[in-house]
């Protein structure tokens, strides 16, 4: 098994773990592992800057945010936890089966497609792309962040007031 195949298998397994596990902390860790694997895949493909952003933002910063929020939550009673875990596994067991079947099925497909893989952008090109060519997308990203801030204000301000 080549390094890339191993990485992709670990990536899929950790993504499955993140989706199927019940404790939030484990799910956050599994998601961080998925992001780290994705970052390594990007490194292997030569997309250095994308890999650095994936590792620092998705695996790093977002995991910290998740863990901080989870630390504010309370543990469920053990019996309830077990019941929820059983229900979750009952609901999600087809997921790995479907993925496995899909993987096996796709490995037999030989579609007549021509893919001209473009060369990965170098660091300098990424700057040009972000600030000169895709500035409208950056503007869109600012708006999404702004909407996120309003989301926090709407959801949490009200909760705080309800709690009073």
């Amino acid at each position: 098994m080549s390094l890339m195949t191993t990485l992709l298998v670990v990536l899929v397994l950790s993504a499955l773990w993140a989706s199927m596990t019940t404790p939030l902390l484990r799910a956050a860790l599994a998601l961080a592992l998925t992001s780290a694997m994705l970052a390594v895949v990007m490194f292997s493909l030569g997309a250095t800057l994308a890999a650095v952003i994936e590792l620092s933002v998705c695996a790093g910063l977002i995991s910290v945010v998740f863990v901080s929020v989870i630390s504010l939550t309370q543990r469920r009673p053990f019996k309830e936890y077990l019941a929820r875990r059983r229900a979750r596994l009952r609901r999600l067991w087809p997921l790995p089966v479907v993925l496995l079947a899909l993987g096996i099925g796709l490995s037999f497909v030989r579609a007549p497609v021509q893919i001209a893989l473009p060369l990965p952008a170098t660091d300098g090109d990424v700057r040009t792309v972000l600030w000169n060519l895709r500035q409208l997308d950056l503007f869109g990203q600012i708006l999404i962040l702004l909407a996120g801030v309003f989301g926090v204000l709407v959801l949490f301000k009200k909760e705080a007031k309800d709690g009073d």
Partner: protein
């Protein structure tokens, strides 16, 4: 001018949040002014060639590469009109000052997203602005925490995430197969398409089907519309779902596909399924908002079906039905807000005979429902006629028959609404009910007037709205 259509609402958000707390009561007025300016800009540009060169220095610095055509202008016009109606409904139904302030802010953010969708020329940027609109809408749905707000928003978030995966995968595949994602590059590639290009376009269309709540991806719509506060329902039903799903579809059809459309069978089947399934689901509802939501699924099916017919006529028909439905459906949700405010319920089985108590609401509801059902001389009749003609020209007789017959089902569920809510003897518990306040009547009457005027002056309206053809 296009850059300003993004910058003005964005700067309005900044200004709103710089206002001192006591001055925040002006948030609605500022937002209304922005929406009125947008409506005026989109409407006036259809009559006179305005010289926007005095805005050129700013456009040179922020050269976003946007372009505004007749189709985009139509979306701006819809967004302006529906946004103003939603604000008027919100002014009356959102009790808390903080709710009203957040509503104004989020409408402006969503407006930037919708304006972006109207003017972009690139599939990835289209996706970005669809997401901007969607994120603002998730929060709008949860504006009032009660009822099923979180469930409705959650379903929308999950299905939107699926749509995002589909659209992003499509963009990645297009970069691989075409080497670019601008609408012009995709159009050129589609002249001699490879398998990968078709897969990419099919994935993007599926993403838009989810956003537009077309069958079989319609599961989230009824919950989201029902759970949302009244002004959010008006805004979502009137413009959000249409801009992020259906308009994007129209844009791709008009800009990339040109001439004949191979694979249009997908649009015909999805459109016909949405029309029929949406109509029958609407027929079985007792909650007024849920009936209106499923009716939206059905009517958006008409727009998609039109694109499967003769493409040139189909785009004109789809654009016109898009406008008509945006106006009529936001009006019906404004009427539902009036009824909920006065009766405290939207359960149609508990209503009856309130036409005598609320004559204006009953009258405007009748105008909108008859227009959506396609009765002459109202606006909905003309757009449905054009849809049937587009299908007939493409020799899709069976689908034309589906479009006509489903109109009868539309008429049936709307007559059922009228009978259960307005007709008959007034039930004793509603004997003391009074007509809704002016704040809720003004948007309903104004939107109903647009439907009537568009219907009566159809040739003039067609020229004004679409510049004589898309």
């Amino acid at each position: 001018m296009s850059t300003f259509l993004l910058l003005v609402p964005f700067l309005a958000v900044v200004i709103l949040n710089l206002l001192p707390k006591r001055a925040r009561v002006a948030a609605f007025a500022i937002t209304f002014l922005v929406l009125a300016l947008e409506t005026a800009a989109a409407f006036v540009a259809r009559f006179v060639a305005v010289d926007w060169s005095f805005l050129a220095p700013v456009e040179r610095v922020l050269g976003f590469g946007l372009s505004l055509d007749h189709l985009g202008g139509l979306l701006l016009l819809c967004a302006g009109i529906v946004g103003m109606a939603a604000l008027l409904v919100g002014r009356r139904t959102l009790a808390e000052a903080s709710e009203r302030f957040m509503f104004a802010n989020l409408v402006l953010v969503a407006l930037v997203g919708i304006n972006g969708i109207a003017m972009v020329r690139d599939l990835f940027t289209l996706y970005v602005f669809v997401e901007v609109t969607a994120v603002a809408t998730f929060i709008l749905i949860t504006l009032r925490h009660g009822g099923h707000a979180f469930e409705g928003a959650w379903k929308y978030v999950i299905l939107s995430a699926v749509a995002s995966v589909l659209m992003l995968s499509s963009v990645a595949l297009l970069l691989l197969s075409v080497g670019g994602i601008s609408l012009d590059e995709v159009k050129t590639a589609l002249a001699t398409p490879g398998t990968l290009t078709w897969v990419a376009i099919a994935l993007f269309l599926c993403g838009l089907f989810v956003k537009g709540a077309l069958v079989p991806f319609h599961g989230w719509l009824a919950d989201a519309y029902t759970a949302a506060p009244a002004p959010v329902s008006v805004f979502m039903a009137g413009i959000v779902t249409k801009a992020s799903g259906i308009f994007a579809l129209l844009r791709i059809a008009s800009s990339c596909l040109g001439g004949a459309l191979p694979g249009r069978e997908i649009l015909l089947v999805v459109g016909a399924l949405s029309i029929v399934v949406g109509a029958f689901l609407a027929l079985g509802q007792s909650n007024m908002k849920r009936m209106l939501a499923y009716s939206s699924v059905s009517q958006m099916g008409y727009i998609v079906l039109a694109l499967g017919g003769d493409l040139r006529l189909g785009i004109v028909a789809a654009a016109l039905h898009f406008f008509n439905h945006a106006i009529s459906k936001s009006q019906l949700f404004a009427n539902a807000a009036a009824i909920e405010e006065r009766l405290g319920t939207l359960d149609m089985d508990k209503m009856g005979g309130i036409a005598a108590r609320m004559p204006v609401t009953a009258g405007t509801t009748a105008v909108a429902t008859l227009s959506i059902a396609g009765l002459p001389p109202l606006a909905g009749f003309w757009s449905k006629l054009l849809i049937v003609m587009a299908l007939w020209d493409a020799k899709e007789y069976a689908f034309a028959a589906v479009a006509i017959l489903a109109s009868l089902v539309t008429l049936a569920y709307f007559l059922s609404l009228q009978r259960r809510v307005f007709f008959g003897k007034t039930l004793p518990e509603w004997a003391a009910v009074r007509e809704a306040g002016v704040g809720l009547l003004v948007p309903a009457v104004a939107l109903a007037a647009i439907t009537v005027v568009l219907g009566i002056g159809f040739p003039f309206a067609l020229r004004v709205l679409l510049g004589g053809g898309a």
